[in-house]
């Protein structure tokens, strides 16, 4: 009895949520490994349940935080890019006939995405992208994340949102014409 849209959003949110958590973890551990930073793993650091990584000094923590936040943002951007490419090139309502025919001949018709699926996916990825940007802004205000990363992230997120808005405009125009 849960509204279809909420169920769909929950379904679409699981993958990006897990991906972002994994990106953050990988970002931290890769930074530790590549820059040889001393650290300890403390049990129950997150909600008395999950472990957390403790650095011996503030500068090591800031380096690891910056690289891992960047990794998280890159993953959020990649997810959004995939959805935007789907929206512009593989959108069921305005896919080019040539491309559609080629996909059918290659037995890849499943790549053609309907608006319902696409817009839920885009809403989730853009939400994650903007939440990541908000997190970066707060982190910059707390003097942890470098402002350059946050500025680039905000510009990228704004551009992606604009690209998505263009697709919605196109969709509205098509629905008016039909």
């Amino acid at each position: 009895m849960i509204t279809k849209s909420i169920t769909k959003l929950i379904d679409e949110a699981i993958t990006p949520a897990v991906t972002l958590i994994v990106a953050k973890m990988l970002g931290i551990f890769l930074t530790i490994y590549l820059l040889n930073l001393p650290f300890t793993i403390v049990k129950g650091g997150i909600l008395y349940l999950l472990p957390s990584v403790h650095f011996q000094n503030l500068s090591d923590y800031i380096i690891a935080e910056n690289y891992s936040n960047l990794a998280m943002f890159v993953v959020a951007s990649l997810g959004t890019i995939i959805v935007l490419i789907k929206a512009h090139c593989l959108h069921e309502s305005h896919i080019s006939p040539t491309l559609h025919a080629k996909l059918v001949s290659l037995n890849l018709e499943r790549l053609v995405t309907p608006s319902y699926h696409l817009y839920h996916q885009a809403a989730i990825w853009l939400t994650f992208l903007w939440i990541t940007v908000t997190f970066l802004i707060i982190s910059t205000l707390l003097k942890v994340t470098y402002p350059q990363i946050t500025i680039i992230a905000a510009v990228v997120a704004a551009n992606f949102s604009w690209v998505f808005a263009v697709d919605i405009e196109k969709e509205v125009q098509i629905s008016r014409e039909t």
């Binding site: 009895m1 959003l9 949110a13 958590i21 931290i28 957390s52 990584v53 403790h54 690891a64 997190f135």
Partner: protein
Amino acid sequence: MRRHLLSFTLNFLGIALLITLIVAPIYFARNFAKVAGAKSESKYLLISQVDKFPNMTFIQEGDNYRISFSKVGPQQAYQQVFIVNNPTDSPQTYSLEVTSGASKVFFGENLDNQLTKISLPQSASVPLGLFSDVGDLEQNQQVQFKIIVKSE
């Protein structure tokens, strides 16, 4: 009616689950890495060096610090009994308030200028010493003090 109530509850729980899923990565990102030993709410760190001094004991009760020691001469001073560190990212002003005992507690190492108030820049440290004057004749000395913080 019952069906509507159930539907409302399920939708509410659905939205709560969705918000949790969206917020979880950010919460994780915020808490996964930390600096060891530093708590953001702590305005100062008091590092004890009491074990370097024989016959000196240190007891902490909340924000009250109590030191007991034996007097061996008419006038005596102990330096660097504690180190006070400012772990925050802004300058802090610390004042010492002796709540009981005749001995004096002071910032720094200068016996001629025993500071009871000091301003520390971010991440800086200052030693804390003890001084017992001639007039204080008790052999077993005890002093209890507090550190009062004032953000700049």
